[in-house]
Amino acid sequence: MTIISFAVALVGFVIFAPVLGCLLAGVDRIVSARLQGRVGPVLLQPYYDVRKLLAKENRSVNGYQEFYIVLSLAFAILSGVFFFAGGNFLLVLFVLTLSSLFFIIAAYSARSPYADAGAQREIIQIASYEPMTILLCVTFFMATNTFNVSEVFNRDLPLVATLPLVFAAFLFILTIKLRKSPFDLSYSHHAHQELVKGITTEMSGRTLALVEITHWYESILFMGWVALFFIWNTMLAIPVVIIAVLLIYFLEVFIDNTFARVKWQAMLFWSWTVTIICCLLNIIYLIVLGYLG
């Protein structure tokens, strides 16, 4: 990662990620509505929502909740910049985890029972997907001998060919990361849930707008992770990546609309089971491949 690639990624990610993330969220809502037999809102609905939230009265439960949310947004952006600059994958993960932690601290700072329960569930969600993100790093290193994301452009085959089971396990935890049902325990985009609005219950107006914008940045970052598996050293990779990302996002929306929310025990059990089995089998495959090759 050079200074120039960092600067290009910084400008590009900061400007284009929220635009694309907003459009992705708009498509999500329209597709969800069509799956339920409804017409659904306009494409730019998430943008109007955020504009409205920014125009609302600025009142907060305490003086520092918004500060934590700003930090959460800042680290999510930094993580995305490191990723799209082709930087170190480990660094991307750690900075992103820091972003999630500040989000949880923001919820805890309100001292509200609903926000507290939402924050606790968010911690369980992190506990569910964190082993997978670490194993993603490990298997990425085993396959490419580097932690640098830019290495995928030098490969003769897309990463999904050598890490198919890791990709499958990654899709499993992607549902948690994107806050989709059946794993939207801490905070759902859909109407009512038993915890009012879970982790965002005490956030309102400008603070809630920042949470939405953070979500747009994160969505694009995670779609970047999906793209990581489909890039190799030809121009053919461009249409393949676009089609793969759109298909995977549609799959996530489809799962969101067809599954009921599970309890946290089931989420923890299944995400660890899928992660450990898939990653172990894939690691064995990589070792065998190493001896043969």
Binding site: R29, A33, Q36, G37, R38, V39, G40, P41, V42, Q45, Y47, Y48, D49, R51, K52, A55, K56, E57, N58, R59, A191, H192, Q193, V196, K197, T200, T201, E202, M203, S204, G205, L208
Partner: protein, 197 residues
């Protein structure tokens, strides 16, 4: 046209009705009426909501809840009374425990009568409420982000609670309700006394 009226988020509170209007509010979210077409979301959280839909009439048990929800909503906000009970007390108007419509507790912007109120009328009321919301937003923006009007206090004094002849409308309603309640109790006592004789 601002983004405010393109994304009205609702909170619905069922004060004390027969649940008829309650069901009709939920019917608006179904594929047949699909209020999300207009960007409307049923949030269930007063801190996220712009429009407060109330069904049912006000009594002494829920007047505090209504005011609490209203005071937690951020400006600009609009209140819609859905159904005749929320508008005026409806068939429960003369009950001993009934204080009247929603406007005895909090200021109401739009009245949508009906028993039960039809989903079409609710959608019409919300669309009419958007006009009020836009006016309030403009007034709110003009004050530079300060409060356009004072929030409702715990004592229940709001702009709808006018002072008439030195007595607040709400206190008068309470007094009337208590007297009616006492009168009813004394009638019952007398009847029971007569039975004992």
């Amino acid at each position: 046209m601002s983004s405010t009226i393109k994304s009205p988020w609702l909170i619905h509170y069922d004060a004390s009705s027969c649940n008829g209007c309650d069901i009709e509010v939920l019917a608006c979210l179904t594929p047949l009426y699909d209020v999300e077409r207009f960007g409307i979301i049923n949030t269930g959280n007063p801190k996220h909501a712009d429009i407060f839909l109330v069904t049912g009439s006000v009594n002494e048990r829920n007047i505090g809840v209504l005011q609490q929800i209203y005071s937690q909503m951020l400006e600009p906000k609009v209140v819609i009374a859905c159904g005749i009970c929320a508008c005026s007390g409806g068939v429960f108007r003369d009950c001993y425990n009934n204080l009247g419509g929603v406007d005895v507790a909090i200021p109401v912007d739009i009245y949508a009568p009906g028993c039960a109120v039809r989903p079409q009328a609710i959608i019409d009321a919300v669309v009419a409420g958007l006009g009020v919301l836009e006016e309030k937003r403009a007034a709110f923006a003009a004050t530079g982000g300060k409060l356009a009007e004072k929030p409702v206090l715990a004592s229940g004094l709001s702009s709808a609670n006018k002072i008439v002849d030195g007595v607040s409308v709400r206190d008068a309603a309470f007094t009337k309700a208590r007297e009616a309640s006492k009168a009813l109790a004394s009638v019952t006592d007398r009847q029971e006394g007569a039975n004992n004789d």
